[in-house]
Amino acid sequence: MKSLCLILICFVASQGRSAGDASGLKISAAVDIIGSVNVNTKDSARDRIDVREAEILLTGPIDHVFDGLLSFAAHSEKGIARAELHEAFIGSTKLIPRSQFKVGQYFLGVGRLNRFHRHEWPFISAPKVQEKFFGAEGALDTGLEYTVLVPTSFFLAATLGLSNGYTYGHSHNEGERPKVPTHYGRLASYQALPLGGGAELGLNFLQRTAADSTRMTLYGVDFAAKWREGPALNVLLQSELWVRVLEPKATRAEKALGFYLFPQKALTEQTYLGVLWDYYTVLELKDVTGKHLQNNEQKFLPTLTYKASEFSTLRLAYSLAYLAQDGHKTKNEQKIEAQATFIIGAHPAHAF
């Protein structure tokens, strides 16, 4: 599979070059390199630098109606690069008025981080809520997604999606036929803010009943506010809050809540300082005696970013992680994380 992917990438890339602008094909490659060093533990097993992801993306019009996107990515999994098909879909904004749709494999259009490739995130690692509810990179599946712009005097867009649901998150197996496939929706609105800013708010819902009859329901709110000043994103405020209800057939339901908050301020046109607050808790957690156990996992990551341009990023973060149960801190981990990302070739315009 790996070799096949590489051959395909090389072939399509060479075809793209020779096709030039006549076909409208755009090719880009994004590389995401990360490293971390534990500070307060003697465990240095994971002190290493890795190419977390190398992605090749091809986009372009298929004909006068449809557009296509194809991307392959090689991920580092336990230090070994694993190449795989990432996204592959056909879509159109020209067939149905005020609507767009896509059919194929894609990251599900819910939340905020899930809709952006990892190298475009404003921080290094996935917050716990993202990791637990969607997978570290995001929930990927094959299906159909439809977005309609509601005819209102303000921006209101509704997204509905239905995907196979054989697997959920980022899986490398075939999965099993679910009882109810993954179905999801997002209602998004936008509000202009004083001093030239703007904020997008999304309300999300996702549900799937797995083959073993475990029903998973996700409710979430995503929020992003930006104030731009020329090339610098002067202020960014990004957050997501999710609640997950897991209802297995035989045992009682488990509820979990997680959120993150990331405020970031530009120090100069090219440097930024932000702090990621990451919080996750299992609601109604009880011990064997039935006593309620308060619990949470929290992380604080001051993050310094240098962006020479929109095509390259260097990032350094100091991660302070706490695990608390019943009022006691049971784990305290501190580490330094670093990231370098770059994009070569064409790069599609950014969504908000």
Binding site: T93, P97, Q100, S189, R228, A351
Partner: protein, 306 residues
């Protein structure tokens, strides 16, 4: 009798279509102003930008998607100026006619006599180079006359029956652009701009300098879109001083810190001006913008002369 009812019904159904104004959305306000002047009461033109933004760095704001979703015509400056946000907006608009290549898509740069089109291989190590040439032609009244033709053509595709009105509009607006040009050239005449060396912070006044006869030493930015280093500021300050550059023009959204430092190093006045129409799109909006820039130049030259 039956055909009479059909005719009346058709009239009611088609009337809103025939009488509806053309909804035109442009990226920068200057294009919306021009479209409104050409189309008059047949057009409702508005711009995505407010005129205070740096047009190179704009987010694909969701509200832009809503605005273009109902548009009959979308006008862009082109030459990759909007490449960072407009394609993302159009792709999510669900509006087939305003997609690139569609009947309502208007790239006004098509007939512009382009300046500074790079020769040979270009890549990103050279900074934010516009591969199709310098896109800041909207600061030149002469170039805006070519832009007017493109907008007229776009409007005609939507309402071919309004040809006379659009032709009349274009005639009036071209005459007005000529008046703006002549009046401001007259203001500058005494300073003999053709014998004057000037410079700019970013290469966005090239067409403007051409219109008014200024000769330019170049830009403070060594690579377009890349903030100049201290070394570059000092080097260019020295070169500008030696070449007797009279002033530096910079857009009002550029870094005041860098401009101040340059002024201190060179002793050459830096004039910060708006580069896009800001505020209401009244008939005299473009004249006000041009007058404002020229008046600031005249003021600085007068003070320096004294």
């Amino acid at each position: 009798m039956r055909s009479k009812w059909i005719s009346i019904l058709s009239l009611f159904l088609l009337a809103p279509v025939c009488w509806a104004k053309i909804q035109l959305v442009s990226t920068i306000p200057d294009l919306a102003w021009l479209a409104q002047e050409i189309g008059g009461e047949q057009v409702r033109a508005k711009a995505l930008l407010k005129g205070r933004e740096n047009p190179h760095y704009v987010d694909a704001v969701p509200d832009f998607i809503r605005q273009v979703s109902d548009a009959d015509v979308v006008c862009q400056v082109g030459m990759d100026l909007e490449v960072g946000y407009l394609p993302a907006i159009l792709a999510r608009s669900g509006n087939a006619k305003i997609q690139s290549g569609g009947s309502g898509f208007c790239d006004v740069s098509k007939s512009i006599p382009v300046l500074e089109k790079p020769f040979g291989a270009i890549d990103r190590s050279m900074g934010d180079v516009h591969p199709f040439g310098n896109p800041h032609f909207y600061l030149s009244p002469t170039a805006m006359m070519f832009v007017a033709d493109e907008i007229r053509n776009a409007l005609l595709k939507v309402k071919p029956d309004q040809k006379d009105l659009f032709e009349s509009g274009i005639k009036t607006v071209k005459a007005r652009l000529q008046i703006i040009l002549t009046a401001n050239r007259d203001k500058l005449k005494t300073f003999q701009p053709e014998h004057m060396l000037v410079a700019e912070y970013h290469k966005e006044f090239v067409y403007f300098f051409n219109d008014y006869g200024f000769k330019s030493l170049g830009s403070v930015e060594e690579k377009p879109g890349v903030p100049p280093s201290i070394g570059r500021l000092s080097e260019f300050a020295l070169a500008a001083k030696k070449a007797k550059v009279r002033f530096i023009l910079a857009a009002d959204y550029h870094s005041a810190k860098n401009l101040k430092r340059f002024e201190e190093l060179s002793g050459i006045p830096v004039i910060q001006v708006p580069t896009l129409i800001q505020g209401e799109l009244g008939s005299d909006a473009y004249a006000s913008l041009q007058n404002q820039i020229v008046d600031k130049i005249v003021h600085v030259l007068t003070v320096v002369k004294k």
